[in-house]
């Protein structure tokens, strides 16, 4: 076999040619510059390119994994801490002995209000924040705010808990919106890197064909949601390894509980005021909080160090340069798009169902019948079910995209209907497997719902210029739903179930209608994304005297794009491509990858 020559001359193992070359080139100041910096003769450009893009693709996968893990850890820590603290604070003895007349229930309710109400304002600032900081940095910042919330739980006072809860509430929508945006963007990048050849042929200005990134998007969203749903299980670890040792069993906690399930009213009426058999010592609590804090730190570092930027710096500059007023307005302008309008019920339902699983079902059915000590296992069942079945989102690779979504909705429909007629007896453990089974099934539905919606949004809105708006709207509606659940937490279970059911049916119907409209070839109106107005100095100082551009071209481009975008071709709606889109100067200038972070 012939030995393939190494791509680069290896130090110390230089072959005869290399040596010769070395000797042949005159050294010193007299050496011709070309020869010094020139390529090696056996430089295989194609192979280099392939390797380069493979590295890039691996980088993208690494980005997705790191972002998913980081966010999972953060959310798990946050949920676990919140759950633990709420249980601890619920206990009258603990509260009185540790906090006395501080008014902890009041602080807790204010904290919950901060977490649940603040996101309502998120529609106003989320796009601005995301564009200002950039997707990755927004994620990092939001993860940091979650970590700050964890940190304030060391020292629970009004002036620590409430401000941090408000800050957390502000960070919720930006975090998840930027996260969805990030994952979608990564799938697009992955497509770019795996189809670099076609792109080269088409030219850099040309956009990839519609829906081309969809398979990658499906895979990435499945990965992300498998991780994300694990966070509910992670959140139970403090409960399992710490808090469960201190809890009374169900015979004490549920002694006054009369009815469960569909007959119950509010959240756990008659639940005993004391749930702790023994009080945890401050030292142990500090240890637990420190572990959680360390995990939150780790998550921050992961997001900071391992997640690459979602856009090239130049792209980000472009995204920011459309004018802050426009950025502020654009989420509202997207309401013109009938696809989004049709999806709003689904967004709301998506918020409802998670919270119903975690509070309505877990507390009203599970804890009410099986005791607080089994809450952790119930939520773990939900979490594992959801995490495992997030992979089912991959069905979209073979089936029509509506199938997973509708399947999830159908599953939830069946479950909700059966929950209507189920009133488990308090303090009875015989049928506990049913609870775990229902929780896991609900998780399956949740996973289908979440992956389906996120991929759908990614497929419907491919523009990187508007993805953040879309995801902001999605998560804002979810936040609104969560707020509504928070408001209605004292309703009877039947009312909750009815609301859930109505929303679900409305959501599914509305979604199917939208699909039908699209198939009929109805074209949505999308707001125009304005042209970037650069005021930044830097690379762009040459732009002013860009002599290549004729006046006519500029005029024409502007004229074309002045109106709302009209459909160009195809039944699947319009894309802002083609002559309307003015190629960015940096694309001309660089023609390739900028100094991009990995």
């Amino acid at each position: 076999m012939e030995v393939e020559p190494p791509l680069y001359p290896v130090a110390g193992a230089a072959g005869p040619q290399g040596d010769e070359d070395r000797h042949g080139v005159p050294d010193g100041p007299e050496a011709p510059l070309d020869e010094l910096v020139g390529a090696y003769p056996n430089y295989n450009e194609e192979e280099e390119e392939r390797r380069y893009y493979r590295r890039k693709r691996l980088g993208v996968v690494k980005n997705v994994l790191a972002a998913s893990t980081g966010v999972t850890l953060t959310y798990g820590v946050y949920l676990g801490l919140l759950q633990m603290q709420l249980i601890l604070h619920y206990d009258e003895t603990y509260r009185e002995v540790k906090y006395g007349n501080m008014g902890l229930p009041d602080i807790d309710s204010k904290m919950l209000m901060g977490i649940n109400v603040t996101p309502i304002a998120a529609l106003l600032y989320t796009p601005v924040l995301i564009r200002f900081f950039g997707t990755k940095w927004m994620m990092f910042l939001a993860v940091g705010i979650y970590a700050l919330f964890v940190s304030t739980n060391y020292w629970e006072r009004y002036y620590t808990l409430v401000p941090s809860a408000v800050a957390l509430g502000m960070a919720i929508v930006p975090l998840w919106a930027s996260m969805g945006n990030y994952i979608t963007r990564m799938s697009q990048k992955y497509y770019e890197y795996s189809h670099y050849k076609e792109q080269d042929e088409q030219g850099p200005q040309q956009r990839p064909p519609r829906g081309s990134h969809a398979p990658y998007l499906l895979v990435f969203q499945a990965i992300f949601y498998s991780f994300f749903h694990l966070s509910f299980a992670c959140a139970q670890l403090p409960m399992i390894y710490f808090l469960n040792n201190y809890l009374y069993d169900l015979n004490h906690t549920l002694i006054n509980v009369q009815s469960c399930g569909t007959k119950s009213q509010g959240i756990l009426n008659g639940f005993n005021k004391t749930v702790l058999r023994t009080l945890p010592r401050s030292k142990n609590l500090i240890v637990v909080e420190s572990v959680l804090m360390a995990v939150a730190f780790l998550a921050m570092l992961m997001v900071l160090g391992l997640c690459g930027a979602a856009y090239r710096p130049t792209e980000e500059i472009d995204l920011r340069s459309v004018g802050w007023g426009n950025i502020f307005q654009l989420p509202f302008k997207h309401v013109r798009d009938f696809r989004l309008r049709h999806l709003v019920p689904f967004f709301i339902y998506s918020g409802f169902e998670v919270l119903f699983a975690c509070t309505g079902f877990a507390l009203g059915y599970g804890v009410c019948s099986m005791g607080l000590e089994r809450l952790a296992y119930l939520l773990i069942a939900y979490s594992l079910g959801a995490s495992a079945s997030s992979v089912l989102g991959l069905l979209g690779l073979w089936l029509p995209r509506s199938v997973p979504l509708v399947a999830g909705a159908g599953l939830h429909l069946l479950l909700t209907l059966s929950l209507f007629f189920w009133a488990p007896a308090p303090r009875v453990l015989q049928h506990s497997w049913i609870f775990y089974f229902v929780a896991a099934l609900w998780g399956v539905g949740s996973a289908l719902n979440k992956t389906g919606l996120s991929t759908l949004l990614g497929i419907l809105y491919e523009d990187k210029e508007r993805q953040d708006f879309i995801f902001t709207i999605y998560h804002w509606w979810q936040a609104v739903a969560i707020f509504v659940v928070y408001l209605g937490s004292s309703l009877p279970m039947k009312a909750k179930l009815a609301v859930l059911l109505v929303t679900l049916v409305a959501a599914a119907a509305s979604y199917l209608w939208m699909e039908q409209k699209l198939q009929q070839g109805l074209v949505p109106r999308q707001p125009r994304i304005p042209k970037p107005q650069h005021k930044v100095r830097g690379y762009r100082y040459l732009e002013e005297d860009n002599s290549d551009e004729s006046d006519m071209e500029g005029e024409q481009g502007q004229g074309d794009c002045a109106e709302d975008e009209a459909p160009q071709a195809g039944p699947l709606g319009a894309e802002p491509a083609g002559p309307c889109r003015k190629p960015c100067p940096y694309e001309q200038a660089l023609g390739g990858d900028g100094p991009e972070e990995q």
Partner: protein
């Protein structure tokens, strides 16, 4: 929780706690009791008292009771106020619907003036007993009394005449002029207590008209005689004239004939109407003449009392020999009390006429022996009290004439032994109390149906038992001695139905195996166990086989004795139903959670007189399961921070009332007499800011972790500017000498052709030390690049390490590849690191713009920035040097 100066108790546990609640009494059927002393601010104190309190006693200094003071306490039934109150508003007692007993007490010398608003009792719909003690109601009038009122007390007040009552409570009495009909809505008073009204001298005619009292108590008043009919009282049953200084039994007064009970104790009656008029006490059933000066029995008087059932003649001087003439007492007499009358002997048959007598009290006399003849004829006698007499010997069969006797008290005798035969006679002897001074030997057989047995002997009690089970029905056993012996050695006694066991002793009666021999097996029904052993030795006490034990009191058991193997947790392991645990003088030293782990039902825990008690910090976890009431009295703690949980527990735990910790002191070691309060020690010496520091540290770390990457991210130029600004300020603050990362001031790029000019003209000007030159450190490629280094690398590195780059441009320079490269690099840096790079251009000869056009960045640079044109002598050399220096120093500063 704890309330300063207050004590909360459940009345069920009252017997164990009465010592701590000196001025508060409860009433039967009431449970939760709160007693507060030193009350200054009533509302503040009452805020912390539990809402469902039924008994509330308040002591302190509250001159005016505010309106609605007790509105929270809907279930309050007894209220005792010792608040030196001087005024009560009309709405003070609003909301107390259930209140039954209301007491205003003032114990200082009489009397405190109290103003009552006329309708202040209007809302007390269930009030049945109202009492004023030590208060003058002079300024109040027309007070409305609830209709449910039954008992009214005005003790130690300043009433001068009964008509004051008319003024105070117009509802109560009918005015002298009105008809004798009972007013609608007026209370039906049963008892009126006006005792110790020292100025109540005169009883006017029809003063009490309209009252339908059952009892009238006039103890300690100067009223020696009260004409009941004249005063308007019709159906009085009980009249008490204790301590009024009466010398003769009131005789000629009307209305006494209906009296059923008359108490004339503590008077100076010497003999009753031996010669005078015989009063008509036809209906009298109870007569008390205790503590008078009677020397002989008032024979004639007693003859006239056909209904008499109880007669109390104690503490008179009827001795030394009791003589009861025939027919002296009515045949109904059931109770006769002759105690403390210095009687020496009861003659034979003296009591034989009292065939109905059920109780005979002879304690505190000098009786030395009683024979069966003395007690002849008392066939109904159930109770015989012979305690504290001089009895030295008991004749066999002395009880043979008392077949119905159930209770016999023989405490305080001088007996040395008691034979079972001596107690034979009564068939149903149930309650037996035996006491002797030095030693008591007890021989069988025992009365078979004994229910309670109390034996006291100072030094030794010795039981002689033949057969195993003499106490099958015994429920209550009290033994008080130093040494307890049981003979013969191989026998054990069984107490299968014992419920209450009290053991008091002074040395080691229980330390040896005696106790185990005495109570070897299970005491299945034992509920109350009291053991008090003043003993400096260790005690091996084990509580086993007492599954129903509810109350356990331990005193003076030395737990911390070196050789002692007994631990509290061992002791309490097998008493699962324990509810009350009182520990005093136990020398416990250490208290940990293991002691209480098995006690699920513990309600009351009482520590008394413990020294240097350490509360283990694992008790902290146990807080939710702590007993409902925990009392510390006279307990000193060890000063250590492990107990820092005590304060929050004591003051705030919702399910536990803690008493006595706030005044507890702690000692650091045995020789510490500083009397530090435990709580103040904990507050000053024990840091509790771990959480805060955890928060602060993590918060700052997080902020840094968030902010630093944001700052160092190159995208935000304004952040970057801020950062550089901060950096400069920092360096300026830290001193200007630090050059940082720059090794050179100026990197000079030139081609070989210009080298001569550079070395001769330029370098000296810039490099020489001031004042001749500028003192700048120059980097010349030909001179300063390291030998053997790659020229490219050195070039890049040196340019990076220089504050500014000076390019000497000539036609040759532009042709030279190295200069070309340096120029490109410099212009590239202009773009790549804007703001930090400084490029200076020096034209030595005029150059065509076109030639520079290939450096398009440069051409732009030249449009904006100025450059030095030295060609054709346009510029003076000196001024050029000046300019160059200025620019260089400016560049240097900016880069700093």
């Amino acid at each position: 929780w704890t309330i300063p100066d207050c004590i909360i108790a459940d009345s069920l546990l009252f017997p164990n706690l009465s010592y701590y609640i000196p001025f508060c009494t409860s009433a039967p059927g009431l449970h939760l009791l709160a007693s507060c002393s030193n009350v200054k601010n009533l509302n503040q104190t009452l805020k912390r008292v539990p809402r469902n309190t039924e008994v509330l006693c308040l002591q302190g200094m509250v001159p005016t009771l505010p309106a609605k003071a007790f509105i929270r306490f809907h279930s309050l039934q007894l209220l005792r106020l010792q608040l030196r109150t001087t005024s009560v508003t009309s709405r003070t007692f609003q909301g107390l619907d259930q209140l039954q007993y209301l007491f205003f007490d003032h114990h200082a010398p009489c009397c405190l003036s109290l103003f009552l608003s006329p309708n202040c009792f209007e809302s007390l719909r269930s009030l049945s007993s109202l009492s004023f003690q030590g208060y003058c109601l002079t300024y109040s009038q027309s007070i409305y009394l609830p209709t449910s009122l039954r008992h009214l007390t005005l003790r130690n007040s300043c009433l001068t005449k009964f008509q004051d009552l008319q003024r105070l409570f117009p509802d109560l009495l009918l005015s002298t002029s009105s008809t004798p009909n009972i007013k609608p809505g007026a209370p039906f008073l049963e008892t009126l207590d006006l005792s110790y009204n020292l100025q109540l001298k005169q009883a006017g005619v029809r003063d009490l008209y309209g009252l339908t009292l059952h009892s009238l108590i006039l103890d300690g008043t100067p009223l020696k005689a009260l004409d009941l009919t004249d005063s308007g009282l019709l159906h009085l049953h009980f009249l008490s004239l204790v301590g009024t200084g009466i010398e003769k039994v009131p005789a000629s007064l009307t209305g006494y004939s209906e009296l059923r009970a008359l108490d004339l104790g503590k008077n100076q009656i010497q003999n009753i109407l031996e010669n005078g008029e015989i009063p008509g006490y036809k209906a009298l059933e109870f007569l008390s003449l205790h503590d008078n000066h009677l020397q002989t029995l008032p024979t004639r008087f007693l003859h006239t009392l056909p209904q008499l059932q109880k007669l109390n003649l104690s503490m008179n001087k009827l001795g030394p020999i009791l003589e009861l003439p025939e027919g002296l007492f009515s045949t109904n007499l059931k109770v006769l009390d002759l105690s403390y009358n210095q009687l020496c002997d009861v003659p034979h048959g003296a009591l034989s006429l009292l065939s109905q007598l059920q109780e005979l009290w002879l304690s505190g006399n000098n009786i030395s022996s009683l024979s069966n003849e003395s007690l002849q004829g008392l066939r109904q006698l159930r109770t015989l009290d012979l305690s504290w007499n001089q009895i030295k010997v008991l004749k066999p069969g002395w009880l043979s004439h008392l077949p119905a006797l159930t209770t016999l008290n023989l405490l305080g005798t001088y007996l040395e032994y008691i034979l079972g035969i001596q107690l034979q006679g009564p068939k149903m002897l149930r309650h037996l109390q035996l006491g002797s001074y030095p030693i008591l030997d007890i021989y069988p057989p025992w009365p078979p149906t004994l229910l309670s047995l109390e034996i006291q002997a100072e030094s030794c009690i010795q039981f002689m038992i033949h057969s195993g089970q003499p106490f099958l029905f015994l429920e209550n056993l009290t033994l008080e001695t130093s040494i307890l012996l049981l003979k013969p050695d191989n026998i054990t006694i069984h107490f299968p139905s014992l419920r209450r066991l009290t053991l008091r002793g002074y040395s080691f009666i229980f330390s040896t195996s005696q106790l185990q021999r005495f109570f070897p097996q299970q005491l299945p029904l034992l509920e109350h166990f009291f053991i008090w052993c003043e003993n400096s030795y260790a005690v091996d006490l084990y509580l086993f086989g007492m599954p129903r034990l509810r109350v356990l009191e331990l005193g003076y058991l030395n737990f911390f004795y070196e050789s002692s193997t007994m631990k509290l947790e061992m002791l309490l392991k097998e008493v699962p139903q324990l509810q009350v645990l009182a520990l005093s003088h136990l020398n416990l030293r250490n208290l940990s959670v293991s002691s209480f782990k098995s006690l699920q039902d513990l309600k009351l825990l009482l520590f008394n007189s413990e020294r240097a008690l350490e509360m283990n910090s694992n008790l902290q976890e146990f807080i939710p399961q702590m007993p409902q009431y925990v009392y510390f009295s006279d307990v000193t703690f060890t000063c250590q921070c492990e107990a820092s949980w005590l304060e929050s527990w004591a003051t705030r735990a919702p399910n536990t009332f803690v008493y006595g910790l706030e005044k507890s002191i702690c000692i650091a070691n045995a020789s510490d007499y500083s009397k530090t309060l435990l709580f103040s020690f904990l507050a000053t010496n024990c840091p509790h800011g771990t959480e805060f520091w955890g928060f602060l540290t993590s918060f700052i770390l997080l902020l840094l972790l968030i902010i630093l990457p944001l700052i160092s991210c190159p995208k935000w130029s304004w952040l970057h500017h801020l950062w550089t600004l901060f950096h400069t300020c920092w360096w300026k603050l830290c001193g200007h000498r630090l050059r940082g990362q720059f090794n050179y001031d100026v990197f000079i790029s030139y081609c070989e052709e210009d080298q001569a000019w550079v070395l001769e003209e330029l370098v000296p000007v810039l490099e020489k030390a001031p004042p001749e030159g500028e003192g700048l450190r120059l980097c010349l490629p030909a001179r300063d690049f390291g030998i053997g280094n790659d020229r490219m690398e050195s070039m890049i590195a040196s340019m990076g390490k220089s504050r500014a780059t000076l390019c000497v441009l000539t036609g040759q320079a532009l042709a030279s590849p190295w200069c070309n490269l340096e120029l490109r690099l410099a212009t590239y840096h202009l773009v790549a690191r804007p703001g930090t790079t400084h490029l200076l251009l020096l034209f030595l000869e005029p150059l065509d713009r076109q030639r520079l056009h290939s450096y398009h960045r440069l051409s732009r640079w030249l449009q904006k920035e100025d450059y030095f044109d030295l060609s054709q002598g346009k510029v003076e050399w000196n001024s050029f040097c000046e300019q160059l220096k200025r620019r260089l120093s400016k560049a240097g500063q900016e880069r700093d």
